[in-house]
Amino acid sequence: MFVDHLERHPEGKLLDVGPACGENIRFFASRVGKLYVFDLFHRLCQERNRGRSASHIWPDLDYPVGSFEAIQLWDLGDHLEDQELARLVELCILMVKPKGMLMLIAMGEGSDTTLSHSYVIREGFRLQVRSQPDLDLPLHHRHNRDLIATLSPFKLVKSFIYRSGFREFLFQHP
């Protein structure tokens, strides 16, 4: 559904917040007019290592209002404090065009690793999880109701849970 949305806007713009993943960059860059990659995982790691919060990142997320057909957040929310995630959602609702999509993944309850992951898009839209050993970030597990409440400026249009526990949510700008 997310890819369908992108392919309906072949000249559109997608924001991918990382971690930078070559396979996904090629996948998305061949489907949209312009792919914006801003590795917020890497930036978050830098700020955490300096003992600073994510609030120092937001000024760099300086894209104009209504820039994107879609935003791909992957599991960034799992590595943010509640107020940081809320701020990110505020920025996303501004950056996404009306009817634009936002994709979010959340790890399962059993996940205890603090390592970040890439979700590499493989044949048949399969996602392969690949650890990013350089990106060690705190993990904040959230229940579906909490996530959906935080993302409430968006409308939830689809959600999946995988047997491995990962959850995938697709939201739409109202």
Binding site: G124, N144, L156, S159, F160, S164
Partner: protein, 176 residues
């Protein structure tokens, strides 16, 4: 001014020092009419334009414009570049801010920090690289075709098995 010519017998890369040209650039590759490359060494800073017809490796710092349309530009791991690059192929392993236009491939390696725009036919990005970029690839119809299956799926790393996703809901939270 930019380089003194020198033939390298062993093909090893060079660390600091003045810029120069070496032979046998990359084994097995022949990116242009010449196998030679110019190296801007670690201790060299350049501001201005570079135009030419051979490959270029930057380990120093460079600010300006680089036009080597039929050749390769490499920003080495020690390189710091703030420039507009027009080249056939571009490899970034150091720090680069600016725009890249490549007729061929752009490679961003794990050590790279890249901030800018890329327009290229192909791109590769290694895990670990930091990028804040706008990427435009030359569109090819076959690349736009959807992969064979239609449903999303998730594979746990290295398990080799895939698992069908279960819909949590069609719009409401019935999961947890």
């Amino acid at each position: 001014m930019l380089k003194k010519r020198k033939e390298m017998e062993n093909g090893n890369s060079v660390g600091s020092g003045p810029s120069f040209t070496e032979k046998s650039f990359v084994p097995g590759s022949n990116p242009g009419s010449s196998d030679e490359k110019t190296i801007i060494g670690e201790q060299i800073s350049i501001e201005g334009s570079i135009l030419g017809k051979e490959n270029l490796l930057i380990e120093g710092s460079m600010k300006g414009k680089i036009e080597l349309e039929e050749h390769q530009v490499i920003v080495g791991s020690k390189g710091q570049v703030e420039a507009e690059i027009h080249a056939k192929d571009v490899t970034i392993s150091g720090r680069m801010t600016g725009n890249i236009q490549a007729l061929g491939k752009v490679e961003i390696t794990r050590a790279a920090e890249f901030n800018g725009e890329v327009r290229a036919s192909r791109i590769s990005v290694e895990d670990g690289a930091y990028i804040k970029a706008v990427i435009e690839l030359e569109r090819r119809e076959e690349k736009k075709k959807a992969p064979s299956a239609g449903k999303p799926d998730l594979q746990v790393a290295s398990s080799g098995s895939s698992q069908e996703p279960i819909a949590l809901s069609g719009g409401t939270d019935k999961g947890k």
